[in-house]
Amino acid sequence: MGKFFFFSVIISIISGIINGKTAEVSAAALEESSHAVELSIKLLGSLCFWSGIMETARQSGIIEKLREILKPLLLLVFPRLKNEEKALGAVSMNVAANFLGLGNAATPFGISAMKELHRISGFSSAATAEMVCFVVMNTASLQLLPTTVAAIRLEHGVQNPLDILPAVWAVSLCSLLLGIFAAKIGFPKGERK
C-alpha cells in the first residue's frame, strides 16, 4: 500500500508537470482527504445498519442456513476455511448481498468476513491467500440485477434497459473466475499462510 501511494504521487507530479496541471494536483493533495471523511460519514449509517442486521441474522440462525447452502461452492474457492464456520458465514452473507445487488450491505458483510480472515491469520499485517481471493472477488462482483445502470438506461429512453443482462452476467462471471484464477496463481509461493 505504501509503494502504491508513493508511485501514484510520483506519477501525479510528473504527469501534472507535463500536462500543466500542477495546481490541480496540489489542490487534490490538500482536499481529497476531506472527501474520504465525507465518504466514511456517508458509509457510517449503512455500516451500522447492515452490521446490525447481520448480527440479528447470525443470532437467529439465518447465516448458518445460508452458509450451509453456499458451502460446497465456497469451499472450491476457499478449501482451507473448511472448519472456519464464522468466516464462511460472513463470506456467504457478502456473496449473497453482492449477488442480490445490495451493495450497501455487501460492504459491511465483507468487512466482517475480512475481520474473521484476519483473526484466522493470527492478525498478520500481510494479506493471506484467502484475503487476496476474497478482495478480488469483491472487486469483480457478480450481480444479478445491475439496478443503477438499468435506471439510467431507462431514464435515457432505452426501450428495454435490461436487455444487457445476459452479457452482464457473462462478463461478471468470467471476470470473477479470471480474477480468482489470477489471485491464486499469482500468490507468492511458499507463503500460503
Partner: protein, 176 residues
C-alpha cells in the same frame, strides 16, 4: 418496467425477512441489532485512515491528467480490437473512481445513441465491474493489512478482462 420495480423491493424484503425470522426464532431483535451496529461503527472508524490515504493518491492521479494519458496511449490498440472509442476512458476510469465512472457514463448518453453498440458496451461494463481501489482500501483498511501481495495485479487483471469481455459478449449476444 416490472423488473426494475421488483428490484426496488429487494432491500425492504431482505430486512423484513431477517427481522421476521428473528422474531419467529425468539431472538432479541433490538439487542442483537445494536450489538452488531456497534461493531459497524468501529469498522467505519477503522477504514477512515486507509480511505484518506487512497483517495488522496487517486485524486492526485485523476487531477494530473494521468488517466487521460493512459487513455490516449491505449486508445489506438483498443480501437483496432473493436473497442468503441467512447468506452476507453470509461474502462480506464472504472477501477479508480466509482463516482467519476458513473458521471462519465451518464454524460455518454449525450454523445452515443441509446441502444447502440457503444452504449450497450458501456452499460455492460458499468454493470459488470466494481470500483477496484475503493474496495481494496475499505477491506484492507478495516483490518490494517499493509502488504496486499498480489491483490492489485489480480484485481486489475479481472478489470481488464471485464473490459475486453464486455465488447466480446455485446457482440455475441446483442448485435443483430
Amino acid at each position: 418496467m416490472s423488473t426494475v420495480l421488483s428490484t426496488e423491493i429487494i432491500v425492504p424484503a431482505v430486512i423484513a425477512f431477517v427481522i421476521g425470522w428473528a422474531i419467529y426464532r425468539k431472538t432479541d431483535v433490538f439487542g442483537s441489532f445494536v450489538e452488531g451496529a456497534k461493531e459497524g461503527l468501529r469498522s467505519a472508524v477503522s477504514i477512515l485512515p486507509a480511505l484518506c490515504f487512497l483517495m488522496t493518491a487517486i485524486g492526485m492521479l485523476r487531477q494530473s491528467g494521468f488517466l487521460e494519458a493512459v487513455t490516449g496511449f491505449v486508445a489506438p490498440a483498443a480501437e483496432k480490437l473493436g473497442f468503441p472509442a467512447e468506452i476507453i476512458p470509461l474502462a480506464v476510469l472504472r477501477p479508480f473512481s466509482g463516482s467519476g465512472a458513473l458521471g462519465y457514463y451518464e454524460e455518454l448518453f449525450q454523445s452515443v445513441v441509446p441502444g447502440s453498440f457503444a452504449e450497450k458496451t458501456a452499460s455492460v461494463l458499468m454493470g459488470g465491474s466494481e470500483t477496484t481501489f475503493y474496495t481494496l482500501a475499505v477491506y484492507y483498511g478495516a483490518v490494517g493489512i499493509k502488504n496486499s501481495r498480489n491483490t492489485v495485479p489480480a484485481a486489475l487483471f479481472a478489470d481488464f478482462s471485464a473490459a475486453v469481455l464486455s465488447v466480446f459478449f455485446v457482440n455475441l449476444f446483442l448485435q443483430r
